[in-house]
């Protein structure tokens, strides 16, 4: 446990002192502020403020553009940079398990990504301060769904980061996986037979739009995101231990 906590703390520290990460935060806050004010201007939202979480978390650009793109930019440094700098060898020859390495890096990135969401939460609080009456079960549900999706995308980004020391491959690969997870089910949801059935079950925007952002907590969705996250963490672990496999 001590080595895990040591690595977790070091990863958190490295994220907090990285100028690149602050740049990411700035762009994230700026774009979210723009989307936020843009959606507030929708006539439907002005008529019924309860629709706001659905527009923001369910069908807006936040989900379609920012959520798949930003997590891999945060995770790209976790393994790819260690590969590139040559610091992975001292880390993996220390007395720490490969699983602890994967989990420490993953949890550090998850905790740090909450800072991204805190900024968005601040926008809702600002709205409340200006007298808006929000349905906090919908807002909370929207946040919960968005956080679960971002944790899933962080795990995919972590896996891509473990492939090599190439930053473009790490960030591009992670984003590509995330966009496929978002778009493929939407593209095939009307396909006949099992393909359509499976696609509808994997439709992430639907789970956000018609579930979390409406304050509805579907046990299927609650299980879907963590299970998929575990799959990517397992793949990352496999990538890491594969160096120990005897050829």
């Amino acid at each position: 446990m001590i080595p895990f906590l040591a690595l977790f703390r070091k990863e958190m520290f490295s994220l907090f002192v990285s100028p690149f990460v602050y740049g990411l935060l700035a762009v994230w806050f700026l774009l979210n502020g723009l989307f936020f004010s843009f959606i507030l201007g929708f006539p439907a939202v002005q008529n019924d403020l309860n629709l706001f979480p659905q527009y923001l978390f369910g069908s807006g650009l936040l989900v379609w553009l920012l959520l798949p793109s930003f997590p891999p930019l945060l995770t790209l440094r976790l393994f790819a940079e260690e590969h590139r700098l040559g610091t992975l060898e001292p880390l993996l020859s220390a007395p720490i398990t490969d699983l602890a390495v994967v989990l420490a890096k993953y949890f550090a990135s998850c905790l740090f990504f909450l800072v991204f969401w805190l900024g968005v939460l601040g926008l809702f609080l600002l709205l409340t301060l200006h007298g808006a009456e929000l349905d906090w079960s919908r807002v909370g549900g929207g946040f919960m769904g968005a956080v679960l999706v971002s944790f899933l995308f962080l795990s995919a980004g972590l896996w891509a980061s473990s492939w090599s020391g190439n930053f473009i491959l790490a960030a591009g690969g992670g984003a590509a996986i995330n966009f496929l997870l978002l778009f493929l089910p939407v593209l095939f949801e009307n396909a006949p037979g099992n393909l359509g059935q499976i696609s509808r079950q994997m439709n992430i925007p639907n789970m956000l739009d018609r579930g979390f952002a409406m304050g509805l907590f579907d046990s299927y969705a609650l299980a879907y995101f963590p299970l998929l996250t575990l799959l990517f963490l397992w793949l990352t672990w496999v990538r890491l231990v594969s160096r120990r496999w005897v050829p």
Partner: protein, 313 residues
């Protein structure tokens, strides 16, 4: 103790290491030598637990690296070739992180880090950001890292690399102290042969993934008999003795005799015998004041054992 038994490593179709075996006992320093691509770093990566061998096994302090890798790694300090540390951290932060990573108890972290910093002359660098350290200090940081948690075995890949002559001397003294006073088993690779010669108790020469020779330098010199040379200090008659040595009545087995003023430098053939030469001189010559067997330098041995392999290919 560090033990490697018939270690082999394949990278695809390439044999990087072929059945390499050796042991390093507690209190012993083994110098690991070989030309580039000989398999030195691969061996150290395997022994550090970073890479698995394709076959064979290895253990650190009695713990098998494959069966009980964590326990083995707890007994090991490892300095990789071209050591790098996270550039954004400060020296003290990095060492505290590494100490915790190696399982040092929270109460002992600060003391251990301070001790290692003192040992490696890094006391004044604790607050310095790693990316601003010179190469020499980065290397010292890597050594400090390897010494954290006081492991009984040390693997050092090119530890003299990047150090100035003064730092090399300090490192030599440190290695000797760690092995002979603190009873650590040390395996280090190096291209700096004079350093190896002055520090290592034994050398292990690798070439093209195979062990060429393993032993202490004196033993290796005996194995390299065709390299044996004798220096004779004479009071007079160097030319006369030279002629006698090379004549039919001479001891035989002499390749060449070089006159150096009143002295002779005798190079023996592979079948030449130093005892035979000694006997002949004792009976035939009265003018010998000094008889010195010249040992080949480690550099000569290294070239001999690696060149022999090239010839047999």
């Amino acid at each position: 103790m560090i033990r490697a038994s018939k270690l082999s490593k394949k990278y695809g179709a390439i044999d990087a290491l072929i059945e390499v075996s050796f042991e390093v006992q507690a209190g012993e320093i083994l110098g690991f030598l070989g030309p580039n691509g000989a398999g030195k770093s691969t061996t150290l990566k395997i022994l550090s637990g970073y890479l698995p061998p394709s076959s064979g096994n290895a253990s650190i302090a009695g713990f098998d690296l494959l069966q009980d890798s964590l326990a083995a790694r707890r007994c090991l300090g490892y300095l990789p070739e071209a050591f790098q540390a996270p550039p954004e951290l400060r020296v003290g932060e990095y060492l505290r992180f590494r100490a915790r990573l190696k399982g040092v108890a929270a109460k002992k972290v600060v003391k251990q880090v301070q001790d290692c910093q003192k040992l490696l002359g890094l006391e004044s660098k604790g607050r310095q950001i790693i990316s601003t350290l010179s190469k020499g200090f980065q290397q010292r940081l890597g050594l400090a890292d390897a010494l954290l948690a006081d492991p009984p075995s040390l693997l050092l890949d090119e530890p003299f690399s990047g150090l100035d002559p003064l730092q090399r001397q300090e490192l030599k003294n440190l290695l000797l102290e760690l092995a002979h006073k603190r009873n650590k088993a040390i395996l280090f690779s190096s291209h700096v042969l004079p350093e190896v010669e002055s520090v290592a108790d034994r050398v292990h020469i690798l070439h093209q993934g195979r062990t060429q020779v393993d032993g202490n330098i004196k033993t290796l010199s005996r194995q390299a008999r065709d390299y044996s040379a004798v220096f004779l200090g004479l009071s007079y008659g160097a030319e006369e003795l030279r002629n006698g040595l090379l004549s039919a009545k001479g001891p035989g087995g002499i390749q060449s005799v070089e006159v150096q003023g009143n002295n002779l430098l005798i190079q023996l053939c592979p079948d030449g015998s130093i005892p035979d030469l000694w006997k002949w001189l004792a009976t035939e010559s009265k003018q010998v004041q000094r008889f010195e067997i010249l040992q080949p330098s480690l550099e000569e041995l290294f070239l001999k054992f690696t060149a022999k392999k090239e010839e047999t290919r």
